[in-house]
């Protein structure tokens, strides 16, 4: 029954639908992993001691793995719905993807491994892995997405392999900086939403300092993107209000941070990421890989798509399971909605009965609804928190 209904949809419509869906997966990925990349990059700057670092890692510890699955699903969906796109994208951007993979590997194990030894040198090494493992992909995804739009020299044979330096143009480097700045901003608003006391203050001041950079980068990058699009006469699909809204979002973040509206600030940095990357994706459509040699060699959703049958099957499966995934992933964020506190901080009266200084490495939480410091800020960086 469902199969008949979906099967009756025009093949072209399903191709557009799957392009949009893959686009949404990338946006989810950047929105979600954007903040855990951001926190990873800010780790050395806003944490004063190991306990701070642990609090920071625990702000996203429950969810980073799930965030990363959006990347895996985007890759898998591309493989299934547009095999030629997947094949040329992954072989063409070989070296950047190799670097991204390495970064994700060391970063992923670092979260788990750092905790298994208290030696400062051990932890410092894994913290460096987390920093670089968050920094590199942030830049490289920005570079890659800028290159998608700017095009790469795909020839007549439909082949292309990028030399690494080849991919680094002024435009793509600006793309890398833009995404990096946005992720840092997103990470800092996330930390101010998820922590208390000094850490929250330091995250806010980091956000205030990053905001001007992010604003400048977004304005420059999107203007460049949009003027390129005008030059190529393909602005039709990118209504100008989308890049403009991206700029509005990132500017308003600066104001929201200064007003201590942590939740709204986090939303607006997320929106800025979505609208910026969204501009690129809309600019790309209906192409998936742009040839800088000739438009005749562009890969499009039409000439890379899987056969109709595969798209129908995929549509049905995604239609059933994607809402379920969104529900339980959303629920998991709800479960961990409380702020992460340093153990030395006492929870306000009545929130928890866990009295006394908790033993090594135990944190307490307060409801995030309490906006400004009901928590006495007696966080002492020198406190013997680890009990080591």
């Amino acid at each position: 029954m469902i199969a008949m209904v979906v099967g009756a949809i025009h093949p072209g419509t399903l191709q557009v639908f799957w392009f949009m869906l893959i686009g949404v997966m990338w946006l989810m990925y950047f929105f979600l992993e954007g903040f855990d990349f951001g926190v990873g990059i800010l780790l050395p700057f806003i944490a004063k001691d190991d306990l701070d670092r642990r609090v920071l890692l625990n702000t996203f510890g429950q969810v980073w793995d799930g965030n990363e699955v959006w990347l895996i699903v985007a890759g898998g969906a591309t493989f299934a719905a547009f095999p030629r796109w997947y094949a040329l994208l992954f072989s063409g951007f070989y070296l950047p993807l190799l670097l991204i993979l390495l970064a994700l590997i060391v970063r992923g194990v670092a979260f788990e491994f750092r905790n298994h030894n208290r030696a400062p040198a051990w932890r410092a090494s894994w913290d460096r892995a987390i920093f670089w493992g968050s920094l590199l992909p942030s830049i490289l995804w920005g570079v890659a997405f800028a290159d998608f739009v700017a095009g790469v020299p795909i020839g007549k044979d439909g082949r292309y392999v990028a030399g690494f330096w080849h991919l680094l143009t002024p435009y793509s480097i600006l793309g890398g900086i833009t995404l990096l700045a946005l992720f840092c901003l997103h990470g800092s608003t996330f930390v101010s939403l998820r922590t208390t006391g000094d850490l929250r203050e330091r995250a806010r001041s980091a956000a205030r300092r990053i905001a001007p950079v992010a604003i400048a980068a977004v304005i420059a990058f999107l203007s460049w993107t949009f003027s390129n699009a005008i030059g190529a006469h393909d602005t039709g699909i990118v209504p100008s209000f989308i890049p403009l809204l991206a700029i509005v979002a990132v500017i308003s973040t600066a104001w929201l941070v200064s007003e201590h509206l942590d939740g709204w600030a986090f939303l607006s940095t997320g929106l800025a990421i979505i609208l910026t990357v969204g501009t690129l994706l809309l600019n790309l459509y209906p192409r998936v890989m742009v040839s800088s040699v000739s438009p005749a060699y562009d890969l499009t959703i039409v000439n890379t798509a899987s056969a109709h049958y595969t798209l129908v099957v995929m549509t049905i499966v995604a239609g059933i399971f994607a809402p379920i995934v969104l529900l339980y992933q959303g629920w998991s964020y709800w479960v961990f909605r409380k702020r992460v506190m340093r153990p030395t901080e006492q929870p306000p009266l009545g929130t928890s009965a866990a009295a006394g200084p908790p033993p090594g490495g135990v944190a307490t939480t307060v409801p995030s609804s309490e906006k400004v410091g009901p928590v006495p800020d007696k966080a002492d960086p020198m406190a013997p928190a680890e009990g080591s």
């Binding site: 070296l95 390495l102 049958y309």
Partner: protein, 472 residues
Amino acid sequence: MLPLAAGVAPVTLARWQFGVTTIYHFLFVPLTIGLALIVAIMQTAAYRSGKPHWDSMARWWGKLFLINFAIGVVTGIVQEFQFGMDWSHFSTFVGNIFGPPLAMEGLLAFFLESTFIGIWIFGRGRVSPRIHLISIWLVAFGTTVSAYFILSANAWMQHPVGYKIDPKTHQAVMVDFWAVMTNPTLLGQFTHVVLAAYTTGAFFVLGVSAWQLLHNRSQEIFGRSLRVALVVGFIAILGTIWFGDSQAQLMTKEQPMKMASAEALYHTQDGASFSLLTIGNLSGQPIFQIRLPHLLSVLADRSWDGKVLGIDNVQAAEVKKYGPGNYEPIIWVTYWTFRLMVGLGFLMLGVGLWGLWLLKKKRLEKKRWFLWALVWCIPVPFLANTFGWIFTEMGRQPWVVYGLLKTSKAVSHIGTGYIGTSFAVFAGVYSILAVVEIGLMVKTAKTPPDEPKEPEAGSETGTRTEVPELVY
């Protein structure tokens, strides 16, 4: 970049890279699948009985489970990316059929695993014990679902079904999704692989528990762990062998070359015997062999005098069917990996039987030499898994998709330098990770368990007072 790699064909390097990264990944995956089940069983016992030692057990094994889980996750991303990176022609050719299971694996399995592992690690004390228990079961379920989807992709490479070749694009396109998901090869592979994963988890728990008991650690915790793992392990290895055996008949029908090369049987034979081992060369002039009469026929065909096709005969048939070329895999590899896989499987079955007998005699925890044997058995399932995959993948060569696409035609159009670089980089990083991982596992496996915690009284608010830890 690599002077050594210069002159080596990209396809050779790409194969080595895929082999090394996949074997590496699959060292951790079966342990994840197996330990998830065992930890879930322990936590269920803790939930139902309310006894603190079950809870300590689930926590203690949970630590080992998580170290292993982390590395399985990150090496898995590489797997999905390198189909496109190194094997872009393969990806283009099979994407219509191979892509959907990959996408569904992400959507149905990875989200489930990653979300609920987060709930399980961080949720203790924050979600109800019931939800916490359900979380570990969902993780265990997710790992198994993941195995189903990725094996459906692999089974299609072994035995393509539900497809046609598009005359215009020369791609394989799907015509019957249901056929792909119920591929007979898939059903055999899935049960065999998942049960092998349970075996892996069980033998790991057996070995580590034995070591702990030999060092006079908590009888309550490790004696129980030993018994749980013994039961799980025995059922699992029995099933692994059973379904492995039924796969042999499918393989004989679907990939006769693989069966023939498993025995290095060159000429078609009725009532073929099975050689346990061969000294000398495999091409017909052995110096010494131990042979079990008729066993190969029974294995391949379920009959005493069944005909088993020989390598030379299948080669001739495939030349006729697919055109001139060499259709033989590397015989010594298939011959020996098959024997090692089967042999190690039976070794584990023997150990399991021995353990059950000691259990019945109530001497399980007292036989020190049996406990030491269990410790030494820890690597056995990992080796058997590895040999099994080398056998089935290398036994399919020269095909990457049996009968449809040759491995030599599947590789990306990229230079040796790129693949050489990435191979070197992965080999380097994976080696370092292996050292760290094994070091951490050994260290953690040797730690004594915490004292069982008495269930704490509720706080004033009625919730459990246990405060969530800073886990990382």
